[in-house]
Each structure stands twice: as structure tokens, then as C-alpha cells.
Amino acid sequence: MSRRSVLFLFPLVCGFCANRAPAQSEYQLEITAGQLFRMPLHVYDIMSEGLGPIRFGGGESPDQVLQRDLEYSGFFILSRGTTFDPANPAAGAPAGTRAVVSAVIMDSWGRSVVRGTLTDGATRSRIFESDYPLGNPPNRWAIHAFADEIVLHLTGERGVSQTRIAYVRDHGGTREIHVIDYDGANDRQLTRLGTIVLSPAWAPSGDRLAFTSFGGGARTVVGLGLLDGRYWTVSPSEGMNASPAWAPDGRHIAFTRSVDGNAEIYVAPSQGGNPSRLTFNPMIDTSPTFSPDGRFIAFTSDRTGQPQVYVMDREGGNTRRITFLGQQSDSPDWSPEGDRIAFVCLIDNVFDICTIRADGSDIRRLTAGEGMHENPRWAPDGRHLVYSKKSGGERRIWVMASDGSGKRALTGGNGDQYNPAWSPALSQ
């Protein structure tokens, strides 16, 4: 991180804190949709040097993808310029513009690249200039890489443009795992198992998934290598095994296992091996999620008669309840920063998405109104959440900022779409 960006982080962090700080009582559950501090960014139309207009699959232009990436990060207020003048890079930019974004699509040593430039709005000095291979046919990943580098240089944080979301789609009885880009583009079917698969979970390295499979009449937690397409068995195959969660070191997977009608949480080596049992309670224990430091596991238990969220040590002891809503709380997911846990909160008989501090304080409700909201999962930036929503017809995959703003659907079409999981930052 450059010294400049450290200095700039000061107002940014304060804006963030101001949004998060107000103390709320535990049961004060109005919708929160605060305004984060946003820095002014001037974005010029991308020029094409002799390559003609570029269109990605789906018909979007590089400009549209870049603008959405930058807006979606939540860090910027965008203004637009048409023709970039290298001699006067900030010409036409509004007063107070933090930085100027410009790019040229050009041929460089026989391959098409996006040459992206970020210029300081005040000093007009170049912050960085990089080439991103465009590929043939043109791949929007080049634009995503440029957008994330802009975010990194200006904020010191990683963007989420180079991430994907795995989810489950109903194929008329069977379920298969699909993967989309973070913005909903490039939907592709990942598994073709012809059975029920559920609860995909990304390895921290981003090159493997674990999920629940009903293949062969069993209910097994299996792993899938995304580079080699190889499947392996994580859990025993007898009994019910489901709901996997990777430990932050990638070497262990916690999951739910039941051999006698009593679901308990176990942990096993991620490559498979003897599971060790972490919970000992006659009621349901399920939906584990690790804290980012790997020291704690949050999970759902109905030991008081209805599902609530609990936290225990990584080895299983020292269990404490953290949600005390009148109705159910379920499906926890620990934020990448470790400060908050997202979960499904049942309020007035409506399933909504809430977040709460890991110590059980400062609960916030992010959705309300019609529809059934389930399965919140954090983006790796800790500033966005993906979840499923059913209102009327099929369940669909939605995203929102972690303050509840900017909700939009990413998927559509026939068959329920649910059980989303957000990948870590990916390289391709």
C-alpha cells in the first residue's frame, strides 16, 4: 500500500466506522442502509486502437463492465468523460476528483490487451499503468482485473470483481452446482451428477469446492478439484453427512453428521480421514462456519427448542449462545474480518438476513418485507453478501452491500436457485 493511500484511508475508515458505530439495542431491528464514504472517480470511455468495438458474451461493452465493477465496489462516486486527453488527464473531471480512470484496448506484441491507467486527480501524476490480456474471444476478466487494481491502489483493500459465486440449481428433481461471475455473468453448470447436491463451500485457496452429495443413495460430503475435475470423499459415507465448511487453513472441513437421527458437528481432514466429533447434544447441531482466525466455530442448534446461533471453540468446548431473537436464527456465516456473523433471522414469521457482532451484540436486519431470504454468505471483501430470495415463483440468487443497500438478483430462469457461496479472490 502506498503512503498516499494510507493517508487517504483515514476518511474512508472513519466513514466506515460512523456507519457501524451507532449502538443499537438487541431488538431494535429497523432496516439499516447507511451511506459509506465514497470517493469521486472520473472514468473515461475505453478507447479502441484499430480493434473496433468490443463486445463480451451477453452483449455488454467493456465500458459497461468497468463502470459496474467500480460502482459495485461501493467505494466510488463515478463521473463519466468521453475522450481522454493524455496531455491533460483531469480535463473535464469535477472538482475534488480523487483519480482519473482511462484505458485503451490495443494490440501489444501480437495480442489484444486492455492498457489501463489510473491518474491522480490532484497532482495529475500516474498512479499505475498495467496491461491486461483481453483474450480471444474477449474475456471480461481483463476489465475485472483492472477494476480490482484500481480499488486496491485507492483503498488498500481487495475488490471482488475477480470472484465467482457457486450455487445450487434445481434441474427438475436433481440438483447441480452452477458457477457465475460475481456480477451474474457466465453462468455455467459445474457438476453433472444427476443427483441432489447441496451446500457448496469454497476452499480458501479457491481451487476446490466441498458440498453435500446424495449420490449412490448416501449423503456424503465430497470435494471437487476445479482444475482437474477430480472428486474425492471427505466424510464417511454411512449416515447423513452435510453442510461442509472449510477451516481457514484449508486443511480441515467441519460438517454435520448424523448416524442415529441426531445431527452433530464433526471435523475431518479436507482430503478425507477420520472425523472427530465436536458437539455432544441430543438436539440438532448443524451449519458450522469457522472464524477467520480458525479459533472458533459458529453453528446452529435447536437445543433450546428452536434454532439459534451458537459459538464454540475450534475443539468443541466453551459453547455460548449469541442470538436471542424471539423466533428462529439459523445458517450463520462468519465475516472475513471476523467482526460480524451473518445469519437468517425469523422476524414476524418472515425469514430475513441479519448480521450480529460475534459477541452477540449490535444485531442488524438487512432485509424486510415480502419474500423468504436464506443462506447469507459473505464476499471476501466483507462488504457484500450473497443470499437466496424467494418471492412468488422460484428462489433466486441475490446480492447486497453489507449495510443492506444495492440489492439485486443475479440469476433467473426455471428451477429454484439457492445455496450460494462466494469464492475467495481468484486469479482467472
Binding site: 427438475g172 440438483r175 441432489i196 447441496l198 451446500s199 453435500t212 443413495g217 449423503r219 447423513m240 452435510a242 453442510s243 454435520t256 448424523s258 442415529d260 437421527g261 441426531n262 445431527a263 440438532i284 448443524t286 451449519s287 446452529t300 435447536d302 428452536q306 434454532p307 428462529q328 439459523d330 445458517s331 437468517v344 425469514f351 423468504m372 436464506e374 443462506n375 424467494k390 426455471n414 439457492y418 445455496n419
Partner: protein
């Protein structure tokens, strides 16, 4: 309007059914609340000495195990479920040659993972009852489908109450 392949297939099936003259509603699946298996009764050996009347082959007996239903987020057996389970238990003890798979199901409310565990508990409740009734545990297996195999489509208590169930699949 472009028709989805599944819709086209459904339409064709409906047309076929209409053509055959069967009066099933096409919009709803028929209601498989029971699992029925026909058992073949062995033909009586011919009796030569008393040729009074030719012996009629007996009607194949039906083995029926009825679904049981649960309250929301509950796995304990309601009174109506106990009544049903008593009948199911008699069927199981009276037909020692059959085994049964107990499928635990939930309505769509609650999360996928929690409902898998809840369906598991419901199947286990039914299994425990049958064991207490005297059915050997080796004749009973369980599986939870959670909310993945709803019996009735749609939202609302009328659909949900049918989906919170244990379904019995007879395995010979």
C-alpha cells in the same frame, strides 16, 4: 411464447392421459400418500380328492404403510401420527418379509441444512416407534430429503402441512 421442455413434456403427458380417457387432473401430481406393494399369494396346490368346487385364486393382499405428518419445526409424533404408526407397526410385524425405508421430509421454511437435520430426526422418530413396536431395526433404514422433495408444490399451510412428513417406501 416459448415453452420449456418440461412444460412441453407435461403437456404431452396430459394429452396422452386425456386421450386414454383417464380423468386425472393434469396440473397436480396424483397423491402418493401410501406405498402399496402387491404380494403374490402362492397358488393353492390342486386337491384331487374333493373336486366339489374349483378353488379360486386368492386376491393379492396389499401392504399399505401410511405417511405420518408433523407440526412445524417438530419431530415428535402427534396423536394422529401415533394412530397411523400403530397401523404401520402391525403391517410391519404381520409381514416379516418386508423392509422399509423411512424418508424424512420438511416444508420449505427454514434453511436447507437445518431441514436436512430435521427430516433426519423425523425419520428417526418413526424408526424408534417401529422398534418399540417390535420391528427389527435391521428391517428399517432412514434417509432425510430435507426440503428437497416437497410432496405438494406451492407455499402456504395447506402445502406445508403435507410436506412435513415421513414417507414409507417398502423394500422387499
Amino acid at each position: 411464447m416459448a415453452l420449456h421442455p418440461v412444460a412441453v413434456r407435461r403437456l404431452l403427458v396430459c394429452l396422452l392421459i386425456v386421450a386414454v380417457g383417464v380423468s386425472f387432473g393434469c396440473s397436480k401430481k396424483p397423491k402418493p400418500t401410501t406405498d402399496v406393494v402387491k404380494t403374490e399369494t402362492p397358488e393353492p396346490a390342486p386337491v384331487e380328492q374333493t373336486p366339489v368346487e374349483p378353488a379360486k385364486p386368492a386376491e393379492p393382499a396389499e401392504i399399505v404403510l401410511e405417511d405420518i405428518f408433523f407440526d412445524y419445526d417438530k419431530h415428535n409424533l402427534r396423536d394422529d401420527a401415533r394412530t397411523t404408526m400403530e397401523r404401520n407397526g402391525r403391517v410391519m410385524t404381520g409381514n416379516p418379509g418386508i423392509a422399509v425405508l423411512l424418508e424424512g421430509h420438511c416444508d420449505e421454511r427454514g434453511t436447507v441444512e437445518y431441514n436436512l437435520a430435521l427430516g433426519d430426526r423425523r425419520a428417526q422418530s418413526a424408526k424408534n416407534y417401529l422398534i418399540q413396536f417390535g420391528v427389527g431395526a435391521d428391517r428399517i433404514s432412514t434417509i432425510s430429503y430435507g426440503e428437497e422433495r416437497p410432496f405438494a408444490q406451492g407455499s402456504g399451510e395447506s402445502a406445508w402441512s403435507q410436506n412435513r412428513r415421513v414417507h414409507f417406501v417398502i423394500q422387499k
